[in-house]
Amino acid sequence: MTFTIETPAGILQLDEKGGFSGFTGYDEDEAVEGILGRWAADASLSVEAARFFVKGLRRLLEEAGIDLKAYVEIRRRVAFKVAERLLQSMPGADEPIIQAVAILETASQTIGLLVSRLISMCAAYGRAIEAGNGKADVAELLEAAASIPSPFVHGLTAQIGEMMEYRASVESELEELMKARAPNVAGVLGPLLGAKLISSARGLEQLARMPASRIQVLGADRAMFRHLRERGAPPKHGLIFQHPAISRSPWWQRGKIARSLAAKTAIAARLDAYSGEDRSEELKEAFLRRYEAVKKTCQEEPARMRIIRTQKRKGRTRRRRG
């Protein structure tokens, strides 16, 4: 067994007892490549090789004909380059997801603004076009506007069309990213909603560390703090509300479904952050079982509950620390 070690100054060969057996010098950029090549788990130096190298460093450098002082300087420069390279290649892990969610939001706002301008502009030409919210509605709108012979209208429709295409491309990029980074969260919530939760938690690991109860109300900060600070019912759901299982269910089922979905999301996030194993199918099924059960057992609309307070509380007397 012999050892090859990529050092900051060159490639060092050691024999089976850790003795010097050869050295080939290289420049600092090659050193960075060589050292980084070993950084990955499956290619790393053995503990044995590392020990031989560290314990015998002075002697080995001498035999390789490298000046110790020069070596120390090269090593420091190479260490900086290695760290810089790693910083670039490990972009705050979830930063792209967080940024992509922000881009989607900006794009949607932009489209909304441009659409409202388009409607006004069409009206200025005496043509009322109907406004809608969904993507299909906007497409209809653009079509209706196309018949108006105005450069203003055409300019606007072109911009809106382009922005919509752009938004769609960011969405599909984000879906890919989510499937790679967080397959379980993407599976349980859908990639886009999953990305919004990760973004709201400021990262997958942060999401993984949250209890399900926190995940359930993530994005409902105002309602949550209103509940904690003053009177007001606790929010049943935050961002998670956007999931069709909740938003398309009647109000009295939503809390139960939200709790279950948040619980599965918490498990999914932990799988993604710490194990990587894709068990999204299993989680989705478990959620659907609960979903069906709620649908079955809670069909009747209950009477709206009124919270009866025996004591009239003033706004801020119940302030808790949040």
């Binding site: 070690i5 990529e6 050092t7 900051p8 050292i35 070993r38 950084w39 788990a41 790393s44 130096l45 053995s46 503990v47 090789a49 590392a50 020990r51 190298f53 560290v54 314990k55 460093l57 120390v72 090593r75 420091r76 190479v78 260490a79 900086f80 290695v82 760290a83 810089e84 790693l86 910083l87 490990m90 972009p91 705050g92 892990a93």
Partner: protein, 219 residues
């Protein structure tokens, strides 16, 4: 200005300070104090566990002017920069595994010629062997449950015989349900095979449920 440990001074306001190796530069907003030719940096015990340990009366500070130090869990360099001030003619290999603090740490290292940044996981010390050498001291502040194991692995590879360790233990990150004292004595027990324990200092009131363990690698 009294030198109470090698390279560590007590200011008139009874605060600790080290001689700034990068004059004019601050690392975490600390106060800079002119002292004749040199400039001192105040060393805040609320921000740095080593400073807290010294104020709590740690007897031995094994880091000296020419020491070579492996610093595990350097974070953004708050304590590591003071270690770099003390070991002015030595070296501080600063290992940090997270990206965000490393981007700050790398800038701190740039200003200080004795600091070497290493972005790596201290759980696998063999990985950074090409950038390292045998060291006189290992300072570790990593809030992980297996912190003793991390320290043992690193000491095995990198610490000279007779070299010292400084281990900041946070009992809450090992077991949050048990009493701090019993967690810390368990950690001490784990080190006994390889080390002779010199001191264990409780960091109260600067840090709750924290202790600093100083030990020497005994052959």
């Amino acid at each position: 200005m009294k030198e109470i440990y090698p390279g560590v001074y007590l200011t008139e306001g009874d605060r600790l300070a080290t001689v700034n190796l990068a004059p004019g530069r601050r690392v975490y907003g600390e106060r800079l104090i002119a002292d004749g030719e040199r400039e001192l940096r105040e060393w805040n015990p609320a921000r740095s566990k080593l400073s807290a340990a010294l104020l709590k009366g740690l007897k031995t500070l094994p880091i000296e002017r020419k020491s070579s130090v492996l610093y595990l869990g350097a974070a953004t360099g708050t304590t590591a920069s003071h270690v770099s001030d003390i070991a002015a003619e030595g070296r501080v290999f600063s290992v940090e595994s997270s990206v965000t603090p490393m981007s700050k740490l790398i800038e701190v290292c740039r200003d200080r010629e004795n600091m070497i940044p290493i972005l790596a996981d201290a759980n696998r010390p063999e990985v950074y062997a090409p950038l390292l050498e045998e060291v006189d001291v290992i300072y570790q502040d990593i809030a992980q449950r297996n912190q003793a194991e991390i320290l043992l692995k690193n000491s095995d590879l990198y610490l000279k015989e007779g070299g010292h360790i400084l281990l900041a233990v946070k009992s809450k990150s090992i077991d949050s349900t048990r009493k701090a004292g019993s967690v810390i004595s368990d950690e001490v027990a784990k080190l006994k095979d390889l080390f002779r324990i010199l001191e264990v200092v409780d960091l109260e009131p600067y840090e709750k449920d924290h202790a600093m363990i100083v030990a020497v690698k005994a052959p």
